[in-house]
């Protein structure tokens, strides 16, 4: 049974190899089947594992081989399936499968070899993501961590002919690397202090953390880990890559930049919850960064006109939520939100993909409108997704978001206030998007209108499944106050420390729910009223312009980091290297040449002069003899 653990990542790996190597010889359908089939197989295995875990508890660590063994440090290539990872396995493989399925249709216009490349990358991504969550130590997690970053890079730049896509891909990778450096330093710190990177076991990090780590160590390790999470999960200040990452194909955005990869940071912190629980500073930092990011991204999302950009900022915002949850100690809530978010955000992205597909790669919502009739399934599912993200009960988003908000309130009402405001904004911009896209009248070209059609079944089926999940997914975490048992909470209890809740009174809690739902409902109503009839078609002005331009953060980064760095690099290259160091080296040569020219002038060709030099030399020798003591002392000083 436990050997099944290997199979989970193995299937995608095989899929990657077959599709990658055979991309020129395999037919498209074969590629699609292999690609999706590998993930399906993986999903089935994950299901089996999940139930195994659910029924019998965590599966013992499975060691494949010793990865690195330098006596003082042993790092095993080992997998660990516990409650947390089994849940993530399901999310990854499940949603992954749906998106693969969706992709078979969505990417059908590609040439076979690029089609094969696409599925190979996608399989590789799933493989890396599985490594990330399966790894039984930080190094394996880091391997997956960098692996998903790579796949993200490859997939964002999938259409490599377009240079701006390439820049976006590079930006994503480099920003991730900044985070990775933090992660890496954290790992080193752990190694230096604890001599191990394993999570569990008696020798593991978590078991020894309390005893061997000072509070300074813990704070630094957790903050460094969080820096890693910032990069991967697009938090301030490392979030700017994610909106740009929308350059990739839409299913990629759905899978990587919404459902799975970006939640790796959440997973990592949830995984390290033992450490985080030991450091209040780090917890607060996580919460504040999360909160600020959530609000900040939400404001930007209000004024975006690219359908995917809106979703991207929404993702950033929602990730901020999750970090808020982690920061206030609601680990379960965050994981819960990861799950529900995966459902509805994947749904929204896929829905957006369906729209884009129908509109022939038109992404500007100002050129859409009135798609309700032409794309019925897409419309319904998209609406459900919007409701879910807006936190309208009983859709899944409501439960997860509510849990985080409740915990935030318990922590500090201010957190809760900002959180609720963000929730309102979320509802607003999502329904702005919905209204502008699906309601009103069609504003695109005639040609586009003529070709509008509902997507094929391979695309709609995943939409429907995800819609169902978005609607129902919340019920595994119904809080006790609403008469539920919060199954998820119980399931995850062995791995996630339960925060010491300042118990909120039931009345308060109901009130909180009420406020947030009411706010969301009002925002929805305003958005629909405002945008269904008169969508905002002109460029924004004033404050709106500031938001539309994303607070000019990209420009700021360019000015503060990129340009100075470039200037320094040019300075090094042209001045220091050429004139400084190389100049010095060449200067020695030039000096020798110069002295050569001067010295040979002594060789005047005149006998008298030569003899004069000889006589003078003898005189000097005699003088040296006379002043021997003095000269010797100088000599000795020089040479000793």
């Amino acid at each position: 049974m436990s050997k099944l653990v290997y199979l989970v990542p193995l299937f995608p790996l095989i899929g990657f190899l077959i599709n990658g190597l055979g991309r020129k010889s395999l037919s498209k359908s074969a590629i699609g089947v292999i690609g999706s089939g590998a993930i399906l197989a993986s999903f089935v295995t994950s299901l089996v594992l999940f139930f195994e875990v659910k029924n019998h508890g965590a599966i013992p660590v499975q060691q494949l081989f010793t990865f690195i063994d330098v006596q003082t440090l042993k790092i095993a290539f080992a997998f660990q399936v516990d409650q947390l990872s089994s849940l993530f396995l399901l999310i990854i493989t499940g949603i992954g499968f749906l998106i693969h399925l969706y992709s078979t249709a969505y990417m059908n216009n590609e040439e076979p070899q690029h089609y094969g490349r696409y599925f190979a990358y996608l399989n590789l991504f799933v493989f890396s993501m599985l490594l990330l969550v399966l790894g039984a130590n930080y190094v394996i997690m880091f391997i997956g961590w960098e692996g998903v970053g790579l796949c993200s890079y490859l997939l964002i730049g999938y259409w490599f002919k377009n240079d701006s896509y390439n820049y976006a891909a590079k930006k994503a990778f480099v920003m991730n690397r900044i985070g990775d450096l933090g992660f890496l330093l954290a790992i080193f710190w752990i190694i230096v202090r604890l001599g191990t990177v394993e999570y569990g076991g008696v020798d593991g990090v978590f078991a020894n953390a309390a005893a061997k780590l000072s509070s300074f160590d813990v704070t630094l390790i957790t903050i460094l880990l969080f820096v890693g999470a910032m990069g991967k999960s697009a938090q301030i200040p490392l979030y700017t890559w994610l909106p740009d990452a929308m350059a990739g194909p839409t299913p990629v955005s759905a899978l990587i930049h919404a459902a799975t990869m970006v939640t790796a940071g959440i997973y990592m912190i949830a995984r390290s919850n033992v450490l985080y629980s030991m450091s209040h500073i780090a917890m607060n930092l996580v919460a504040i960064i999360g909160l600020v990011t959530a609000l900040f991204a939400a404001t930007i999302a209000i004024k975006q006109n690219d359908i995917k950009k809106v979703l991207a900022y929404s993702t950033v915002s929602q990730l901020g939520y999750m970090f808020l949850g982690l920061g206030v100690g609601a680990y379960t809530g965050s994981v819960f939100h990861v799950m529900t978010h995966a459902f509805f955000k994947a749904l929204l992205f896929l829905g957006a993909g369906s729209v884009i597909h129908a509109m022939h790669h038109e992404q500007d919502i100002r050129n859409m409108g009135g798609l309700k009739k032409k794309l019925p399934i897409t419309h319904i599912t998209f609406l459900l997704g919007c409701l879910a993200i807006a936190g309208i009960p009983p859709f899944s988003g409501f439960f997860s978001k509510d849990e985080i908000l409740a915990a935030a309130y318990a922590h500090s009402p201010i957190y809760w206030g900002v959180g609720v405001a963000t929730a309102g904004l979320t509802a607003f911009y999502m329904f702005r998007l919905y209204a502008t896209t699906f309601l009103g009248t069609f504003r695109g070209t005639h040609d586009q209108e003529h070709h509008l059609h509902e997507s094929p079944a391979a695309m709609t089926v995943p939409l429907i499944i995800l819609a169902a999940l978005s609607v129902l997914g919340g019920f595994i975490g119904v809080p006790e106050i609403l008469g539920g048992h919060h199954e998820l909470h119980h399931f995850l209890a062995p791995v996630l420390t339960t925060e010491k809740h300042h118990e909120i009174e039931h009345g308060t809690e109901f009130m909180l729910m009420g406020v947030s739902v009411a706010l969301a409902a009002i925002a929805i109503a305003v958005a629909i009223l405002k945008y269904s009839k008169k969508p905002e078609l002109q460029d924004a002005t004033g404050f709106g312009k500031l938001l539309a331009n994303k607070w000019y953060i990209d420009e700021l980064y360019d000015m503060v980091v990129v340009k100075p760095l470039n200037a320094i690099a040019v300075f090094f290259k042209n001045i220091i290297e050429k004139s400084g160091i190389d100049g010095l080296v060449n200067g020695v040569g030039k000096f020798v040449n110069y002295s050569s020219r001067q010295l040979r002038l002594l060789q005047s060709g005149q006998v008298n002069a030569y003899v004069l030099m000889m006589v003078l030399s003898i005189v000097v020798m005699l003088l040296i003899w006379l002043q021997e003591g003095v000269i010797f002392r100088v000599f000795a000083k020089l040479f000793y």
């Binding site: 020798v592 040449n593 002295s595 050569s596 020219r597 010295l599 040979r600 002594l602 060789q603 060709g605 006998v607 002069a609 030569y610 003899v611 030099m613 000889m614 003078l616 030399s617 003898i618 020798m621 005699l622 040296i624 003899w625 021997e628 003591g629 000269i631 010797f632 000599f635 000795a636 040479f639 000793y640």
Partner: protein
């Protein structure tokens, strides 16, 4: 004694061969045969088989080292005549006399390798020098040769004067001309070393200066570039190799007096001289345009390295001088032999030699690498032995001296490799006079010697210690 007597006699034989033999090649053959005879004679004495015994009244002291050096000098001369003999007879109208003079020089060399008395040193140096004045001016129609000869002669005579003054002062201090009278110790006031008489020190200083002149060390080197440049190339080759090595042997022999420790004054003077020589030789060579003149400066630079033996005064130094003699003589003779064949003596004249004469270029490269002290050539071990001897001798300046020396060695790479660059990497059509097969074989043999010694210097030294 064999070498001294035989070389003098064979010199006379060569003199008369010019009258008897009418064909020039025959003269070369006679010279070769005589050299072989001389070599055999010397070897016989080395191994104690046959030697002419003369009571020298302690004027000469025949040592293994001396025999061995004679062998090397004679063998090098033999190689030299094999390669460049045909070019010797092209210079002037008295080919036989030139060979006779070469033999007389060898006589002087043999005296210098075995003198035990300042008088013998003086006579040896004169016997060696006077024929050189003549050889330098042998190309009588050539004004450069005239000039070189005059300069060489005047300065040589001047330095003889210096040496004699020195010898006189030494005699004044010690009452003897034996080399044991040469005392090096002269400590700083209050030091532990016994003070040598001032007259002795000053006298030795004059002798030192004069010998520095002979080995062309700075600041007594000024004659060297002009004379080497002006003299007929064949004789430059001879002068700058065998003769210079012999001067060094004399120099070291004189300063070797183990009974006395070297005073600080001498250490300082030597360090300064070595550095000055390396500086002048290497730096000035960098800017030369003529290969011949570059080689003249390079010979100054090499002298700087050989001077190390003087500083260290140990067994390694003597072995080093032997190795240096082989490495430097063979390589320089080879390079000059090739130079003589070139139509144009400038660096550009060598452009593209690798294409027109690949063998010459390859051998020339080996010789140049050896001069530059690149490993796997004899030159490396020659330099190595010198550096090692200094480190072994120790002392305050040793390590710095060695560091300075290697830095200059790196500079020397610059000008030696310019020739290699010209030959191999530059486009051109180097013109040479006709090259015979024998010449090529001779070059190959010399290159082989360089490489053999470069891989196994012990082979040479073992023979010495036999």
């Amino acid at each position: 004694m064999n070498a001294i007597i035989l070389s003098a006699l064979l010199g006379v034989v060569m003199m008369f061969s010019g009258i008897v033999l009418k064909s020039k090649p025959a003269i070369v053959s006679t010279a070769l045969a005589s050299l072989v005879l001389l070599l055999i004679g010397n070897l016989l004495e080395t191994y104690g088989i046959f030697s002419i015994r003369v009571n020298t009244h302690d004027m000469l002291d025949f040592t293994k080292f001396g025999y061995f050096f004679n062998t090397l000098a004679i063998a090098a001369t033999l190689l030299y005549v094999i390669l460049s003999g045909k070019d010797v007879i092209k210079v002037g109208n008295y080919p036989a006399d030139c060979f006779a003079l070469i033999f007389f020089v060898l006589c002087g060399v043999s005296i210098l390798s075995s003198f035990n008395n300042l008088l013998m040193m003086f006579i040896g140096i004169e016997i060696m020098s006077i024929p050189l004045y003549i050889l330098t001016g042998a190309d009588k129609k050539n004004l450069k040769s005239n000039e070189a000869s005059l300069k060489y002669f005047l300065m040589g005579a001047f330095s003889t004067g210096l040496m004699l003054m020195g010898i006189a002062l030494i005699y004044g201090a010690s009452g003897s001309f034996g080399i044991e009278a040469v005392k090096l110790a002269n400590a700083v006031p209050g030091g532990a070393l016994p003070q040598a008489p001032i007259l002795d020190v000053i006298g030795l200083m004059f002798v030192f200066a004069s010998l520095l002149f002979k080995v062309s060390a700075a600041p007594f080197h000024f004659w060297t570039p002009d004379v080497y440049d002006g003299a007929p190339s064949v004789f430059t080759s001879f002068m700058s190799t065998i003769v210079k090595a012999a001067a060094f042997v004399a120099f070291i022999h004189l300063f070797e007096n183990k009974a006395t420790e070297m005073g600080n004054i001498w250490k300082m003077l030597m360090v300064l001289t070595i550095i000055a020589t390396l500086l002048v030789g290497n730096i000035t060579a960098v800017f030369q345009q003529s290969v011949k003149r570059m080689l003249a400066y390079s010979s100054i630079a090499q002298a700087g390295f050989m001077l190390f033996a003087l500083y260290s005064r140990n067994d390694m130094a003597k072995e080093g001088i032997l190795l240096y003699t082989v490495a430097y003589s063979v390589a320089t003779v080879g390079i000059f032999a090739i130079l003589i064949k070139m139509k144009d003596y400038t660096f550009d004249g060598y452009n593209g030699l690798a294409k027109t004469q690949p063998l010459l270029a390859a051998c020339n490269t080996v010789f140049l690498l050896s001069l530059a002290g690149i490993p796997l050539t004899a030159g490396f071990f020659a330099k190595y032995w010198m550096l090692a001897s200094v480190v072994k001798a120790g002392g305050a300046f040793a390590i710095w001296l060695v560091i300075i020396a290697v830095l200059f060695a790196a500079v020397s790479v610059y000008y030696y490799f310019r020739v290699i660059q010209s030959m191999y990497f530059k486009e051109g059509n180097a013109e040479t006079t006709e090259i015979s097969q024998g010449f090529k074989i001779g070059l190959l043999v010399m290159a082989a010697i360089i490489l053999y010694v470069g891989i196994n210097p012990d082979g040479l030294l073992q023979w010495f210690y036999l």
